[in-house]
């Protein structure tokens, strides 16, 4: 898939490439089936609205997965995800673009590992960070 990024190429403050995704109601149904989370607020509009929501909402766990895919895609085939944190601060809706962004917050070595901490988040079309998180990845060295 992507090219490999190496530890030596990474600097603190470096931005991760922006990625835009467009989750659809179909994807929420796929995720419900694959995860077993069949709570109706994720696929039944009438039900969602009866609980006070304006529409069906994206599973928090799917947003967690999207951040995981974002970071592991950046870390490349030989990168290893060590830690991933995510907070659900706001609702996101299907059929709206959701944008993944991030930057490198720390570059360090620990034991035998070359580690990189990233600050990552998902943004709604209004530019609000609905889903902030952090990730730690181990990257290979050129040496």
């Amino acid at each position: 898939m992507s090219e490999q990024i190496f530890f030596e190429d990474v600097r603190e403050g470096m931005e991760l490439p922006v990625e835009v995704r467009n989750p659809t109601p179909r994807q929420l149904v796929q995720y419900a089936g694959a995860s077993g989370d069949f709570y109706e607020i994720h696929y039944d509009r009438n039900f969602a609205q009866s609980t006070g929501l304006k529409d069906i909402i994206i599973h928090g766990a799917l947003k967690n997965a999207m951040l995981g895919a974002y970071v592991t895609g950046w870390a490349g085939p030989a990168g290893e995800l060590r830690r991933l944190t995510v907070q659900y601060r706001g609702m996101d809706y299907p059929d709206e673009p959701i944008t993944a962004k991030g930057h490198v917050s720390r570059v360090y070595q620990e034991g035998q590992s070359n580690l990189v901490d990233c600050t990552v988040w998902l943004e709604n079309p209004e530019g609000q960070q609905t889903t902030p998180g952090t990730a730690t990845v181990a990257l290979p060295s050129r040496n």
């Binding site: 898939m1 799917l62 999207m66 995981g68 895919a69 592991t72 085939p77 830690r83 991933l84 944190t85």
Partner: protein, 148 residues
């Protein structure tokens, strides 16, 4: 929603911390892993055909969310009917692979009471430890659940 005055006493808190769920086990199936990767929109070949780096097919980082019903029972009644997921903190130690049997146990790490914009809330921190058939911890997931 709740208009009653629920109080989380020190005793209730002490009784709750350390409570564990029943263990939940799942055999990891290759087709399930592929379907999960497709559902989250992740085309990484590690999840469908495997890569040299991963030494075969592995599961995506949040795949273990597909293990359901890992719930430590609180040792008291709380008058809250709604549940919000506040977020998760995952730590990864080993890959999860098709054919593995993963066993998960959830433990109450902390519980506290707060009043916010949605009214009174009971906030629990639950740590789930996932082990494989060799008893190696593959991942832990510390989640915040909010009842209100």
């Amino acid at each position: 929603m709740s208009t009653n005055s629920f109080t989380l006493t020190d005793e209730m808190r002490e009784q709750s911390i350390g409570v564990e769920s029943e263990p939940v086990s799942m055999v990891i199936e290759q087709g399930h892993v592929a379907r999960f990767a497709e559902a989250i929109g992740d085309e990484n070949p590690a999840y469908t055909v495997g890569t040299p780096e991963t030494g075969g097919i592995v599961a995506p980082p949040t795949f273990l969310r597909a293990m359901r019903g890992i719930r430590p029972e609180l040792p008291f009644e709380a008058p809250f009917t709604r549940l919000l997921d506040g977020g998760s903190d995952w730590e990864y130690f080993e890959h999860v692979r098709p054919g593995d049997t993963i066993t998960a146990v959830g433990r109450v790490e902390d519980i506290r009471e707060r009043t916010g914009s949605i009214g009174q809330m009971l906030i629990a921190t639950i740590k789930i430890t996932y082990r494989n058939q060799r008893d190696a911890v593959v991942a832990t997931q510390t989640s915040t659940s909010i009842r209100y």
